[in-house]
Symmetry: C2
Subunit: 377 residues, 2 copies
Amino acid sequence: MTIPCCLRVFRVSVVRCCFFLWAFACPKAAAAQAATSDHAAHHTFVLPSFTFEDGTALPQTKVSYGTYGHLNAKKDNVILLPSSYMADHHDNDWLIGPGLALDTTKYFLVATELFGNGHSSSPSNTPDPYHGPRFPRATIRDNVQAVHRLLADELGVNHLVAVLGFSMGAEQAFQWAVSYPDFVDRIIALAGTARCWPHGVVRLESQIGALTSDPEFKEGNYTSPPKQGLHLFGLVWAPWLTSQQWWHDELWRGPTWPPGDTFQAVMAYFSDSLFANLDANDLILQARTWERHDVGTSPGFNGSIERALRSIRARVLYMPVQTDLYFPVSDARAEARFIPRVELVPIPSLWGHVAGGGGDEGSKRFISEKVAAFLRR
Amino acid sequence: MTIPCCLRVFRVSVVRCCFFLWAFACPKAAAAQAATSDHAAHHTFVLPSFTFEDGTALPQTKVSYGTYGHLNAKKDNVILLPSSYMADHHDNDWLIGPGLALDTTKYFLVATELFGNGHSSSPSNTPDPYHGPRFPRATIRDNVQAVHRLLADELGVNHLVAVLGFSMGAEQAFQWAVSYPDFVDRIIALAGTARCWPHGVVRLESQIGALTSDPEFKEGNYTSPPKQGLHLFGLVWAPWLTSQQWWHDELWRGPTWPPGDTFQAVMAYFSDSLFANLDANDLILQARTWERHDVGTSPGFNGSIERALRSIRARVLYMPVQTDLYFPVSDARAEARFIPRVELVPIPSLWGHVAGGGGDEGSKRFISEKVAAFLRR
């Protein structure tokens, strides 16, 4: 069945973007159709040869991305927006527009999508011999390398005003600052760190374990979706995504997200909707990309995150969320000690991790103001 | 095979007590053999008729318990120590002894074991028609009712100096204060609240989901242990038990707990040891007892936790742990607003939930001092 383009884009937007930025951060279907300055123009960059850190070279490697605004003649008005877990290039739409923090009358925004999101090269969309569980063991650095090729080779961009990212997007922002110290003026890290610290590994492995426990998973060689595993994956994910007090205060009783207004409806959203239509191997690929991340393992730093962080020349706006159970303020504070030019500005919100993606109105305002001021300086 | 008594006691101690109080809080094998004042004398109280809140009446209902010290003639030196999740009556041994906070030269300590721990009536040790998944839907109030019978009918005790409990033990302590306001002078709640708030329900359901996902579980009618489910249960449990910073700072590198000194060994402990030898139905029964708890649903309060808490006459020493991911300080603070005579004293520790059970030396000292002072007043 062929899905009309506008509906396809809408479906993609709803499916991908709603994970962590919630319904009110999603683009409207109409918005996605038009490539005006403040709405994404969607592209795919194909690398004919690209070798992942694990040594695998795919015959074709795709990076899906969107652009907003206009590239100026000097090509010096570019901000890169790498995506978060299973998100697409609409990840930061809530910050984008004329007069907003990411002002499309000033900046040319390049919003890239992580390997494994189902649009960029992913287990689900790569032919054999690299299909499914045979997809390369992608790292955050692999993603940064591929996007560097996109910027330098395809767009002719050799300098960035900033890299801004939420969650795994923040992981990428830190990697940019370490891998390309002269390429980037500023890093804005929203609810994400320069390394996935051990607690994150334990948590993500517990979630992966929930997914792979389904006998239908068959080590990734399923012929139909492992529904029970996807259900359990969502159930195990649920208590981590926001904060204990979010549940205590029943902040899910918002008018916008999630669907339903009872505790049972919220639970059903997590276990039956959030991940239900996604590919299990894609989910696992990105979770492992997430958990393996450590800027300290970049070439030249001998595994020392301290040395890697000390090497950063970009100015860093480091914004963890006070109640984030994934990337706690304590991890951010520990890293910030080693970053030469850093402003550590915790986001005061009860929305846990999702606050970093503009999950609540207060955080949207708080982040918007801080980002706008940081870009002006 | 008959296990010699001393070895049997040792095995029980190790298996049960090490869950949350860690190795250094466990009794020595030798200690468990002697019923001296500061070492437990083990007993079982059998109620010939006992009706659970769900209406089920077992033919025989057992409460396993230990006693320490000596009951005085006036029977007014009794402190009750209800147990935590899957623990036995040695749960609080680290606080017990001559000159310690729970001073066996002064107090007669009655340490009771929750239904479902495998010693008190449990899914695993109750004959059909109440075996396994057919065991009554036990509540915290059921446990309190049964122990009230033990105290009043068996021991002739009609007043308590205090109820002290850790985690689900704290849930019971609050229930005592609400159900029997004139029976109890003091409540000491360590890392546990008067209600399992919604986040706790979500977390526990995710853990139960991990266990029941094993095809071998067969809705509780397994004929051999659902090993894969028990493994996943431990894996999903792992990131909740301590704190993110505990993992960041690698505080597991202690000399006493857990076995092994690598990250991999710690992970293996959680997934392969912690719950591996326990009964799946027992684990689920107690998790559901935990998550259903709410003093507000006690008779006479119309479901209002505020009214239930306002009715408490006992003095309350309320000690949540600063980094507890189960029972966060925010939940304790919200409840404390309604308790007439409460001292809210958060435990400053990076050990998360287990700090409330004396998991680290600093918390042991901190709790011991506060409890001793509170009992003196």
